[in-house]
């Protein structure tokens, strides 16, 4: 019997992975999933406005918390599904050497250039990056040299196009870009854990929703997520 497709609201950065997983699930179960990718904030606001979605996958905890605070999600279904890592990148031909340790002088490495990051107030990658730099004591030195992008992809683009000599992006972003190289990886303890939480929504009445949510946490999904560079966490959580 043809049932309504499961409607997933997901952060845009998950497109590659979720498209594949959705296809795999359809192959396996014969049921359909529709995924609407947008910024986590927009999705959260839409949920608040009564969007008929079944599952919400946020790119950070903030917006999942926001949704939870509006009593939109089923707390018992909420899971911290994925993790990611933060890296310092430079254009491929760059000779810059940076050793990430407390007190590093990133400003010197930047020279007259700028440090490309996601928006340090709004974009998760930007916020994590800022936390890391603060923890390392490097933030004050570079804060006036940051070029904040609307999203982490644009930050990567700035580095990739040579606009910025250095940038802070997710590890998952770098893989496919031939023009950038990873200069260093930020130690995991310098920034709060990068978490992609997922939850089923209160408004969801699609019987398949739970099945897909379960599939997201399954082995096949894990492989596909990891193929895109995410770390598979799958830890039930109740917010931060």
């Amino acid at each position: 019997a043809q049932t309504k497709p499961v409607l997933v609201f997901a952060a845009a950065s998950l497109k590659n992975a979720l498209d594949e997983i959705g296809a795999a699930w359809t192959r396996e179960s014969g049921r359909k999933v529709t995924i609407s990718y947008a910024g986590s904030n927009a999705l959260a606001k839409q949920l608040e406005a009564g969007a008929p979605a079944d599952i919400f996958v946020s790119a950070d905890l903030n917006w999942m918390d926001y949704a939870a605070s509006k009593d939109l999600v089923r707390p018992d279904t909420r899971v911290n599904l994925l993790g990611n890592a933060l890296v310092l990148v430079a254009p491929k031909d760059s000779t810059v050497q940076v050793d990430i340790r407390p007190g590093i002088d990133l400003a010197a490495a930047l020279g007259s250039g700028r440090l490309a990051m996601g928006n340090v107030d709004a974009v998760p990658a930007g916020r994590y990056g800022r936390a890391a730099l603060e923890k390392l004591g490097a933030w004050e030195g570079v804060k006036d040299k940051v070029a904040q992008a609307e999203n982490v992809r644009t930050a990567l683009l700035f580095v990739s196009r040579g606009e910025a000599p250095l940038g802070i992006v997710y590890k998952t972003d770098v893989a496919s870009d031939q023009n950038v190289k990873v200069v260093a990886e930020f130690p995991a303890d310098t920034y709060p854990p990068i978490v992609y939480p997922v939850a089923r929504l209160k408004a969801s009445d699609n019987p398949d929703a739970q099945a897909f949510l379960n599939f997201l946490r399954s082995k096949p999904a894990k492989a596909l997520f990891e193929k895109q560079g995410f770390t598979f966490v799958d830890k039930p959580a109740t917010g931060s």
Partner: protein
């Protein structure tokens, strides 16, 4: 060419066309009315209306989308009203995308029509009046045909804007494939993931192709209209 796009992408192309055409078609009449009021009206709230019409241009599309979500969403005052009274639902439907596009293109449409109205020789309207034509008839028989070039230009702008609009759309009705995922939204999504450039470029080319066709059609029509007036 068919292979070149995935079925989902074809859906996005079709949806974009549907949304853009709907937005354009739905905004023409209000656009003419508002242009007339702004150009000819002499009432107090004129300036307010003028500002209102321009707002979608002045505000970041995301903000417009957000306001739409607040107003026309399922729980918004207008949205709820329309739903109850007329069964019209915008939220997370393609109609919502059309609404967002229409509103974003509205200032462009109105401005083009206004410019045309301004250029109309009112002496011709007077002449029609002396022949016995009621002002309403004068509008339809004289003014309207004379401002056709402006209406056409406005429709082109409105359509083009609708083909490119995504900030307000994605904020208002999200990005649901087959329902609200227009071409620009699809392109945007591609830009958000590693390796998405090729897909974005592909869809961009499609978008350009559609627009070229629309532009050529509009220019052809405009030329016909102009020839009717001039020769």
């Amino acid at each position: 060419m068919i292979d070149w796009l995935s079925p989902e992408e074809w859906t996005a192309v079709g949806l974009s066309l549907k949304v853009a055409l709907t937005a354009m078609a739905a905004s023409v009449l209000p656009g003419i009315a508002v242009a007339l009021i702004l150009e000819r009206g002499r009432f107090w709230g004129r300036q307010v209306l003028d500002v209102l019409v321009h707002l979608p241009l002045v505000l970041p599309p995301v903000v417009v989308g957000y306001f739409l979500l607040l107003g026309f969403g399922r729980r918004g005052p207008i949205g709820a009203l329309l739903d109850e009274q007329f069964g019209i639902v915008f939220s997370f439907r393609w109609t919502g995308a059309a609404l967002a596009c229409a509103i974003m293109g509205f200032p462009l449409l109105v401005r083009a029509i206004r410019l045309s109205i301004e250029a109309v020789d009112r002496k011709l309207e007077d002449a029609a009046g002396t022949l016995g034509a009621h002002p309403v008839f004068v509008f339809f028989a004289v003014t309207l045909p004379l401002i056709l070039p402006g209406i056409l230009a406005g429709m082109v702008l409105s359509f083009a804007k609708a083909m490119g609009e995504f900030g307000a759309t994605i904020t208002f009705v999200s990005n649901i494939p087959g329902e609200t995922q227009t071409l620009p939204s699809a392109i945007y999504t591609f830009t958000q993931v590693p390796g998405g450039e090729a897909g974005a470029l592909r869809l961009t080319l499609v978008s350009i192709a559609v627009s070229v066709a629309a532009l050529l059609a509009s220019e052809w029509m405009a030329r016909r209209v102009r020839r009717r007036l001039a020769a």
